[in-house]
Symmetry: C2
């Protein structure tokens, strides 16, 4: 297991934050494929994803009855929680990937509490996104600094129809030894540099977040995302602009109205393109996205914001390292992790 | 102003909870019509609603520029907040009704803090629902026991196309002197009696809640709905069953997993009919709604639940009294407020 002393999240904090990177996979390893949320809707899509894993010389292992179904869930809460526990505690597999999202991860969090030793978490890289955001936050609450992977999932058409770059990025995250190789820089577009002007356009902090709906669904619970000093990454799908607004408003109000001072920076992945009802009201010379974030949401001018990174419900989605110590470079327009690997 | 000492919310609590019912309107009164959230999308619908108020011999008064628009909002946060403040502090009007919902109420809560004296709140009945749920909770945080009205709104097609019973119910809530006359019993269907078996099928508590999405959007903020000992009323629109599940899961987890022991009972209004993906999986002899609440959500067998009350985004919507001391009668299958009025 790689143990890397990262940069401090905030200059005012003296101690560097520990970062735990579980070991990479090797060809021939077994990998747990779990369904902690929705049931498998298209067997053909799952089959395709499993073939991809096998092409990479990995052996997929299941820990639950794939035919189990309870409403929209892949079986009972108890069975889905047990699959997560078994995946991490099994000595047969070397990593854990969620087959898909849907809905159901938040339901099982109380059943996971105290059931997975932190030593087990340190041994296996964990992959998934969307609803799985709840598990990322849960694991990072169990072991702050644990690096987990915000990645495409093998039972979804997004991976099956994903670009070669997207599939290659998942491969790198599975097999890459150093974090900087597992998760190379994510490039975006700087919306504003904000207070990063004072520090050469760069801010640092732990990378947290994921799907905004799930980040918001954890507010007030014991497993909410720890945003203090963090680089907050968000993406969402099928959510209108007013819903994203409502969620960020709640996150801000739940942090005493100081969220955008509390975080180091904001990184926005794909959020669809339905941010306001009618972009005609803006006139031709105004960019809808810029106007939405800066004028309608009114994010403060001091907040460093990088948008349009390839993360989320898109075919081009790359894999991001949550829990890692990140370096948000507003001049270079990129988010980097594993900085210390390269020093 | 009517001041009614209600029943204690929980038998274990000795002191009865105070309840503040602002005075009713009289023919010829002026009423503030405010837009704290979305902008007016159909002038013709608003015109129709204003005609209804005028037919009832009320004089609608506005406190903001009705042409103002910022994205999906009816103007800036400052202007919308000021309209709310002006409506309550104006000596010219005797009640306040929201023209419509949409989205935007949570954004202005920080701007309302400390700006409306509780004496002003006691003087005017307040009406609205949906996004306006945030204002109901805000006002009840300012003055616990303040009765506010979960009602149809005049700039929405739901009122224009509403049933005569629905329109009559709004009339009663505007003009009814005693609470029991302003908000008569709401009849529903008992899903289970639960722990109310021990108390003759009846539980009591303050009526709280409204739109589930908004109730959830207040979690973690200073204005979240106070659910302790309460009769929790929920409705929602255009939200799939898995979203309702996610919201109730968050509410429960934000209350230490004890929400359904903490509240006196649950009252469910209209939530659409898309609760599970595929009701065929249940077989013909299973009611989808019952199965959803009791088996899929797994609400505890001890929780008193009344469903199908006519509240929400439906033409038949009645007006409910939030903040009032309620009596949930699972044998009579109804929710009653203003009990003491009739003793």
């Amino acid at each position: 297991m790689g143990l890397v002393a990262g940069k401090p999240a905030r200059k005012s904090e003296a101690a560097p934050e520990l970062q735990y990177l579980p070991p990479p996979l090797k060809a021939g390893d077994s990998i747990s494929v779990i369904f902690p949320a929705g049931y498998v809707r298209e067997q053909a899509v799952l089959d395709w994803g499993l073939q991809l894993l096998k092409k990479w010389d990995l052996n997929p292992v299941f820990h639950q009855d794939l035919d189990a179904r309870l409403g929209y869930l892949a079986g009972s809460d108890a069975a889905r929680a047990q699959a997560v526990i078994d995946a991490f505690t099994s000595s047969a597999t070397k990593a854990v990937i969620c087959g898909q999202g849907g809905y159901g991860c938040t339901r099982i969090l109380p059943l996971l509490e105290g059931k997975i030793p932190t030593e087990a978490l340190k041994k296996k890289r964990f992959f998934g996104f969307s609803d799985v955001t709840a598990l990322h936050s849960f694991f990072q609450r169990q072991l702050p600094g644990l690096v987990t992977f915000h990645s495409p999932m093998p039972a979804t058409s997004l991976l099956a129809q994903g670009t070669k770059d997207s599939q290659d990025a998942l491969y790198d995250a599975l097999f890459g030894k150093a974090l900087a190789l597992a998760c190379p820089a994510l490039h975006g577009r700087t919306l504003q540099i904000g207070r990063a002007e004072a520090t050469g356009g760069v801010v640092t902090g732990r990378v947290v977040g994921g799907n905004l709906t799930l980040v918001t669904a954890l507010v007030g619970t014991p497993w909410e995302v720890d945003m203090k000093g963090a680089i907050l990454l968000i993406e969402d799908v099928n959510e209108a602009g007013y819903r994203i607004d409502r969620m960020l408003t709640q996150l801000n109000q739940a942090h005493g109205g100081k969220l955008f001072e509390l975080i180091a920076g904001l990184v926005v992945g794909d959020v669809g393109d339905d941010l306001i009802d009618d972009s005609k009201q803006l006139g031709d010379d105004v960019d809808e996205s810029d106007w939405y974030w800066l004028k309608l949401l009114g994010l403060p001018a001091t907040l460093p914001i990088l948008t349009e990174i390839p993360i989320g419900h898109i075919k081009e989605a790359k894999t991001a390292a949550l829990g890692a110590n990140g370096r948000l470079d507003l001049v270079g327009q990129k988010l980097i992790v594993g900085v210390n690997d390269l020093l």
